[in-house]
């Protein structure tokens, strides 16, 4: 107990070691233990993302995950039980997977894992519970709809990925209305299988944490499936233009490219390119600008293979037409002219710093390990990226531009007209 509660501040310096694979018997776990940590972060990753849905099942992956969190144990929802024990739980849906993120006091791991296991073994797919889950997912959809960046990125993903892999993370309210208890039950039975699942853990990861993860995954039925196919559609020679409108004050423009995933050879060069694009359109400022203060933001979804790279132009800071012109000029230069050595060096430095700050919370670090594993990469891949950035050459950046940045799709999110 004493060890579990020791604060980082009181311990000798212990840098995060490389993640190690732990064979739990029921499943694999990839753990990165920090001796100074006071909390345990766990991701349970199930091959049950949007790519497992049919077209008619838009939103089912999210609805299923939410249904689990709302299943009651001894009269209290799982999410509330975990909170009362001293922790939190959430989920995120990706094309290939759904991830359950747990963060708990180490002393609560036993009760939390037992509760989670009970829910996985006997989920409540009653009409009432699914209806409550549907409403909760609907609230998330509403929030996404109010954010022009998520709207734009979802438009581009929908155009980029084949089939349901590009479906919106939570579906739509209309599509959710068509889904009921039988859909959730069937989705659970088909995809929530032990062989479809693995875990990552960060923070205080000891034998208790390993046992807890084993308990959770062990509650799933035996079985496995072939990973879902997540494939991209080819870009046409002429860029496609997608347009929609929302209740927003200013227009946003998005340019979507294919991109190397985290485990791809050209990933480090793309991080250098991200730093360059982030910088060239940024205005002078006293402190680091928040996202909403930036004219250009990059959304690099490298945790999905094939990956996407979206340049978002914020109309409140930069005229979208001007932003698109600047972007085209930069890309043209990148294609035709190698970066000067001093420019390359500068943006390598920036990229290394940005990468170091990419994932600092337990949850984010666990996600990064999971992303590498899910792509078939080394669980410690994230820790090798700094050195890979240092090895990027001007020729690498130019080759990257030629491979990925010549074809793209444009999406516009415009303010809705009012009468």
């Amino acid at each position: 107990m004493m060890r579990q509660l020791l604060l980082a501040a009181t311990l000798a310096l212990t840098l995060a070691a490389a993640p190690r694979a732990v064979d739990l018997g029921n499943a694999k776990m990839y753990a990165q233990s920090d001796d100074g940590a006071q909390l345990t972060g766990v991701e349970i990753i199930v091959s049950a993302g949007t790519a497992r849905q049919t077209v008619a099942q838009n939103g089912l992956a999210a609805l299923t995950a939410q249904t689990l969190l709302f299943t009651k144990v001894n009269g209290t929802r799982l999410s509330d039980r975990i909170a009362a024990a001293g922790g939190s739980v959430d989920y995120a849906v990706a094309p290939g997977t759904v991830r359950f993120s747990l963060e708990v006091l180490p002393s609560a791991l036993g009760s939390v894992s037992a509760d989670f296991a009970r829910v996985l073994a006997a989920p409540d797919t009653s009409a009432d519970n699914v209806a409550a889950a549907r409403e909760a997912v609907g609230v998330r959809i509403d929030a996404e709809e109010r954010n022009p960046v998520t709207v734009g990125v979802e438009m581009l993903h929908s155009a980029y990925y084949s089939g349901t892999a590009g479906a919106p993370e939570y579906g739509t309210r209309a599509s959710l209305a068509q889904l009921g208890p039988s859909d959730v039950s069937a989705f659970l039975a088909a995809h929530y299988l032990r062989g479809n699942t693995f875990a990552t853990a960060t923070g205080l990861v000891d034998d208790t944490a390993s046992a807890a993860v084993n308990t959770v995954i062990g509650a799933l039925p035996d079985g496995s499936e072939t990973p879902p196919a997540v494939t991209a559609q080819a870009f046409p020679a002429e860029p496609r233009h997608l347009v929609t409108s929302r209740d927003i004050g200013v227009p946003f423009a998005f340019v979507g490219f294919a991109a190397p995933a985290m485990s791809d050879r050209q990933f480090a060069a793309m991080l250098v390119m991200r730093s360059l694009l982030n910088d060239v359109a940024a205005r002078q400022s006293t402190t680091t600008l928040a996202t909403y203060q930036r004219g250009i933001n990059i959304v690099y979804a490298y945790d999905v293979k094939p990956a996407t790279f979206t340049v978002a132009i914020n109309g409140s800071q930069l005229d979208p037409t001007a932003g698109l012109t600047v972007l085209q000029a930069i890309l043209k230069t990148a294609l035709t002219k190698p970066l000067a050595p001093d420019v390359l060096k500068r943006f390598q430095e920036t990229a290394r710093g940005e990468w170091a700050l990419e994932a600092v919370t337990l949850t984010d670090r666990a996600w990064l390990i999971g992303a590498a594993v899910n792509e078939g990469g080394d669980p410690g891949l994230a820790q090798s990226v700094d050195a890979a950035i240092g090895r990027v050459t001007s020729a690498d950046v130019q080759a990257l531009a030629k491979a990925y940045l010549q074809r793209y799709t444009v999406a516009l999110v415009l303010p809705r007209r009012r009468n």
């Binding site: 909390l39 009362a84 939190s88 960060t202 400022s285 006293t286 402190t287 430095e349 710093g353 700050l357």
Partner: protein, 436 residues
């Protein structure tokens, strides 16, 4: 706790002194004196390969004189960050170039300048921060950029109903002292402040003797050797806490805002009363922590935004809540019910669950190097670094106080302070609503 309000804006006189380098083994926590005066606090930790490096100053956000200029502290700190010295780069440029994050926060009684950087650049960050602030350079361009930044921050904040209500609570609760002066202000309050005034503030507030250097993350104590000494002619002492005077009983205050809302505020225990201050942190967490607070749950479907927090100031602390938008009647009812219920002891099971949540939130909120640096900086500058959550582990004073709370003590502490007169603010939108 620093409090949700303060943390959202983001997100030690009592230190035991020692000499640089005498702090012990690499990786061990270290406290000590900086070569030019001031103190340092190094708290190595595992986890992500990053470091947070921060300079904290006790300095009223509105200035040292009797004629306060709202946002002067923020303006001065921003101008120094953006000013390029004769040689080298500005702090802003340094942060941008290395892919780090630079933030500046001004609170009623303190100013914080924080860098989060890759751990390998921690020494460079210490050097860059101390170079910029221990002998501050202020250029016209730097001040221009700072004015632009402060104007932008203020404009954004003016649309934050909770922030507007918070400022009104402080202005009502206090008769005088730094807490009465809003740390943001309006552009008219500082647009024409001469550079000499800003520079004079910077030279006094940011002198090495008034500095507290905090470094957390994947570092060791040798990082402090990168600190530069600063000006030799600067007074070596630190500023003492400025007195805060409560206003006493006042009637409800009406104000205009972008949407309907209300706020309540009370003077709470000082940071030196660790038992009571921890009880108020617990109360704020139990009632108002996002998603899990009982009031938050009650107002979930009202369309209202509710924030409640206890801010651990030197003396007194401040317990406040703001509610804006949505179904105001429903929110009033939920808040009243919550504030009434907390004056009575919770049953044992509910209390145990609430304390688990509270301790989890404390640890989770401070799990990153930058959050931990903020916490150490805040508790140090408010005069009780040994009470900072994160200090001392399970045997540390904060967690010990949290574990020692009882339902009866929490209820008694709530009644003791909340039965006293406080500030009550009501915000109304303009007649006919805002122009679209």
């Amino acid at each position: 706790m620093i409090g949700a309000v303060v943390r959202a804006a983001l997100l030690g006189a009592a230190l035991v002194l020692s000499s640089i380098g005498a702090g012990g083994d690499a990786g061990a926590p270290a406290n000590g004196s900086l070569p030019g005066g001031g103190t340092y606090l190094i708290r190595p930790g595992g986890g992500a390969d990053v470091a947070a490096v921060a300079l904290w100053y006790r300095a009223p956000a509105g200035g040292f004189g009797t004629d306060a200029v709202p946002a002067l502290g923020r303006l001065a700190a921003s101008a120094v960050a953006a000013s390029r010295p004769v040689t080298g780069t500005s702090l802003s440029q340094f942060a941008r170039q290395i892919g780090g994050r630079l933030t500046i926060n001004a609170y009623p009684e303190s100013i914080a300048v924080s860098l989060v950087v890759p751990a390998a650049r921690a020494s460079d960050a210490v050097q860059a921060l101390t170079r910029s602030y221990f002998a501050p350079v202020m250029t016209d361009l730097g001040l221009t950029l700072a004015r632009r930044s402060v104007v932008e921050d203020g404009a954004i904040r003016s649309f934050d109903s909770g922030a507007v209500i918070t400022d009104a609570i402080y202005a009502t609760l206090f008769a005088s002292g730094p807490a009465k002066i809003p740390p943001f202000g309006t552009s008219s309050s500082y647009a024409n402040v001469p550079i000499d005034v800003v520079r004079a503030f910077a030279e006094r507030a940011f002198r090495p003797g008034n500095a507290l250097l905090i470094v957390t993350g994947a570092v060791d104590s040798s990082v402090v050797t990168a600190a530069l000494p600063g000006r030799e002619d600067a007074p070596p002492n630190a500023e003492t806490p400025a007195p805060e005077t409560l206003a006493g009983v006042r009637g409800p205050v009406q104000a205009r805002g972008v949407e309907a809302g209300f706020g309540l505020g009370w003077a709470g225990p000082p940071i030196s009363d660790e038992r009571e201050a921890t009880a108020f942190d617990f109360i704020a967490d139990y009632l108002f922590y996002p998603d899990t607070g009982v009031v938050q749950k009650a107002v979930r479907n009202t369309g209202s935004s509710v924030v409640g927090t206890f801010v651990t100031y030197h003396n007194p602390g401040v317990f406040l809540l703001t509610a804006s938008g949505g179904d105001q009647a429903a929110v009033h009812a939920a808040v009243d019910a919550g504030l009434l219920a907390i004056r009575h002891p919770l049953d044992a099971a509910a209390f145990a669950a609430a304390r688990h949540q509270f301790i989890y939130h404390i640890l989770s909120d401070d799990e990153t190097a930058s959050a931990l640096a903020d916490t150490y900086g805040w508790y140090s500058v408010e005069g009780n670094p040994g009470y900072a959550p994160g200090e001392g582990g399970a045997a540390g004073r904060y967690l010990a106080a949290a574990n020692a709370l009882t339902p009866e003590f929490v209820a008694a502490t709530a009644a003791k302070y909340l039965d006293r007169p406080g500030a009550a603010i009501t915000i109304s939108p303009p007649p006919g609503g805002l122009p679209r």
